[in-house]
């Protein structure tokens, strides 16, 4: 009878990382369904393509790094990176743009920094930003126009052919400027009422986009309810956008209105699925609030006064830079202490 020797606690009830990641994937499905319904097959094809590439490049780099391949592949984190890229890239982004984004995300941003848990930057957003800067045309002209699956959207075969075609052609009939892009460029010369005439805005806020964002919001609320993420980052993120919009952009004839900021572009996907990546986010509650709010402020600033129509990737990456700093100065107050010990230990050992 050899008794097992082990350090306490002997009981465990953890949700393993693999299951946490699986929940993230499942929670993103409503958003993916909405994307498919309102923008055609592009996102779904991208998601499948990106996940496959992510797993393949993760396996290859793990092999190169002499790490156990299946042990790490099973944690589902590479799949989540692929998923996030697939959800955020333009529907008709050429296959090689997606490939470069995914490979740089997995190989450079994640594994070359030490793999899971060691990457200071959100891998998916590194891939996205790299693609956006390197291939600005491919990344801005390939957004599908809102056309429902039951009317107007190209079929699976046509979408596949477009994405995987050798020539770099954009089929104008299927694409359209995104609402944020359209508003930003037209408002300089038009009134709000005139700008909103464009079909990309539709009848509600931003045709199709509003449903996609609401679907991601629903998925995000599921994640909070499942205690996979906490409310701090998304709430601070959205609150910052609201505050910035009310403070600076209340005139719709000059700036995009609040509802467009909240329900167009990648706002909800960014707030609940991207900014909440635990590895590259701040850790304490207070830190998460600062981190989320920082992203929200940056998103508004770049969308309004920057060169890019959307700004989730840049904002997240910029705040990733600030995470060690935030973490240093936002430790919680420990039980039995008068106040939190901020910063690093002083030389005197205090």
């Amino acid at each position: 009878m050899a008794l097992v020797q082990q350090s306490s606690p002997h009981a465990r009830n953890a949700r393993p990382t693999s299951r946490v990641m699986l929940w993230v994937i499942l929670a993103a499905i409503p958003g993916l369904i909405a994307q498919t319904l309102f923008f055609g097959w592009g996102n779904l094809i991208n998601v499948v393509w990106c996940i496959a590439l992510a797993l393949a490049s993760e396996a290859a780099i793990l092999k190169l790094r002499s790490k156990p391949v299946s042990f790490f592949l099973k944690d589902n984190t590479a799949a989540v990176t692929g998923l996030l890229l697939g959800l955020s890239l333009p529907q008709f982004a050429p296959w090689w743009v997606s490939a470069i984004a995914v490979i740089s995300a997995i190989v450079v941003a994640k594994q070359l920094y030490g793999g899971l848990g060691s990457n200071p930057f959100n891998p998916a957003m590194v891939g996205y930003a790299l693609a956006l800067i390197s291939f600005p045309v491919a990344m801005t002209t390939n957004w599908a126009q809102a056309a429902t699956l039951w009317g107007g959207a190209p079929g699976v075969g046509e979408t596949l052919a477009t994405i995987f075609s050798a020539s770099q052609t954009t089929i104008d009939a299927w694409t359209m400027a995104t609402p944020l892009d359209e508003y930003k460029h037209k408002i300089a010369t038009h009134t709000a009422a005139e700008v909103l005439q464009h079909p990309t805005f539709g009848d509600l806020v931003a045709r199709g986009w509003e449903w996609v964002n609401l679907a991601f919001l629903a998925g995000g609320l599921l994640l909070i309810w499942l205690r996979i993420i906490t409310w701090h980052i998304p709430v601070a993120f959205l609150a910052a956008i609201v505050v910035m919009s009310l403070a600076f952009g209340s005139n719709a004839d000059l700036y995009a209105p609040l509802q467009l900021h909240l329900l167009a572009g990648g706002t909800m996907l960014g707030a609940f699925f991207i900014a909440t990546d635990p590895v590259s986010a701040a850790t304490s509650h207070q830190g998460k609030l600062i981190y989320g709010a920082g992203i929200g402020v940056l998103v508004y600033l770049i969308r309004t006064w920057g060169n890019y129509p959307d700004a989730i990737a840049f904002s997240v990456l910029l705040m990733n830079f600030a995470v060690p700093f935030i973490d240093h100065y936002t430790p919680p107050r420990t039980y039995g202490h008068h106040k939190a010990k901020r910063g690093v230990p002083s030389k005197s050992g205090g």
Partner: protein, 608 residues
Amino acid sequence: MTQLWDFSGGVHPSENKHQSTGRPIRRAGIPERLVLPLQQHIGEPAEVIVEVGERVLKGQKIADVTTGMGVPVHASTSGVIEAIELRPVPHPSGMSDWCVVLKPDGEDQWCQLEPIGDYHKLDREAVLDLIREAGIAGMGGAGFPTDIKLRPPRDRKVETLILNGAECEPYITADDMTMREHAAEVVNGLKVMAWILRPSRCVVGIEDNKPEAIAAMRKAVQGTQIEIAVIPTKYPSGGEKQLVQILTGLEVPSGGIPADIGVMCQNVGTAMAVSRAVFEGKPLISRIVTVTGKAVREPGNFEILVGTPASYLLESGGLQKSQLNRLVLGGPMMGYTLTTDTIPLVKTSNCIIAATADELPAPPPEQPCIRCSQCAEACPMELLPQQLFWYSKASEFEKAEHLNLFDCIECGACSYVCPSSIPLVQYYRYAKDEIRKQRAEQLKSDHARERFEARQARLEREQQEKELRRKERAKAAAEAQAQKQTEAEQSVAQGEATDERAAKAALVQQALERKKAKAAQTAEPAPAAAPAVEQPDIETLEKQLMQAETKLSTMQGMLEEARAQQADNVEKLERAVAKNHDRVERAREALAEARGQMADNTSDASSE
């Protein structure tokens, strides 16, 4: 309704308490041998006051602590002291310690008991002494001697006395069953402690998953001022700091004790032990222990004699050895695994879990931390477990300490929720140990430095004293010289030596004479060299002798010098001189022998 506060974090592990509450508390009986460790709690080990072979009665004191903190140990039943030896004791390391081995005689004969009728008539100090003499130490955790705990510092008035009946750890039901079946005794013990401390509030905290215990305690406190506070079930509500927070809303200061904020916690079992000591005169020789886990057929609670081997108790619970995978002493969150079932159960043992392999499975392999902060959400001390882990793993102990590593109560909530199955608590224990080790080494090196500096100061002082003496000598010599000078001058003046030159010449003459005498002395062995031409053997011997003599004289010179300077190597030099002296003697003997054999012209050399 008592006002309650919440503590941050906490987890809800499967309770697994119903298995051991189905049966009333059973008596485990008297095992074949009782093993009584001399140290059953923090403080000093007790010293044995009986001898091997001596017969002792139940309740008789067999060991006591004379100096330092500690309480006595009593014989749990009547019998004969069989041995006083090293035996495995309950400890996470599986170490052995000194134990008294008692062979029960089966008569279970009590010693003379002296119960107090009415403790109110006694002095409080007398009651505290009685509690000490009864060997009572906290029965919930580390086992702090109860009488010392009941004497808080004078400036720390205890306003709130808390009886900890939370029992938040899964599986354990010892306190639950004690309250169900011995509520009156528990309350009586609490009353004694309240009488000693005179708090303004006295409250029993019980988790709401123990309705029977709550009902029994409510009945027992009727007509008293004691409150029963039903607190929400959440691990670790029974942690002292957490319970204080739940019941008072106050936090125990870091590094302090509850008495610092006017609070004291006592355990249910301790209260019962106090009651038995005061009202029945019985020392702490038995306690209630939960035996549970899927590897025992009849889990439940047993009243055991202190010193009962775990194997005996497991047998009473119906252990199925083939099922047993791990033995845990304590609960599944904070208990530790045992290497053997031969260890005795002591005053602080509250539960033993005989777990099967699927009941408490081995954790999956550790994965990288994904900074998910689940651990921080679970931490009841509001620490940053993932940063502590990071720094502990990287051996950056200073940073870990800065993030309040030492406030960690090792409750295991962080490890319990970690999705990467990182054994966080183990990392913290490692870091704490390393820091303690470093501190101890620092202390040691500080001492060493102090010693070194003291020695340096002493040597310097001696050097100075020596210098001073040397100067005094030189001064004396100079004075003597001056004296001589004046004497000479006086004699000149008196005309005894009219010619200064003549006096000087006389001095030179004397010096020459001394030199001559010396030369004659050194030249003495020279004639011996003559036969050496004929006898090369003797020549060699003589050469050796000369060498030895030269060496000896050098050595003696060095020795004298060393003695004058009070140097450290005097002893060494003395030994060397003695050795060389022997060598000279031997050389001379050898030479003499050689010359004796030659039979001519050897008397001079051998006479030396």
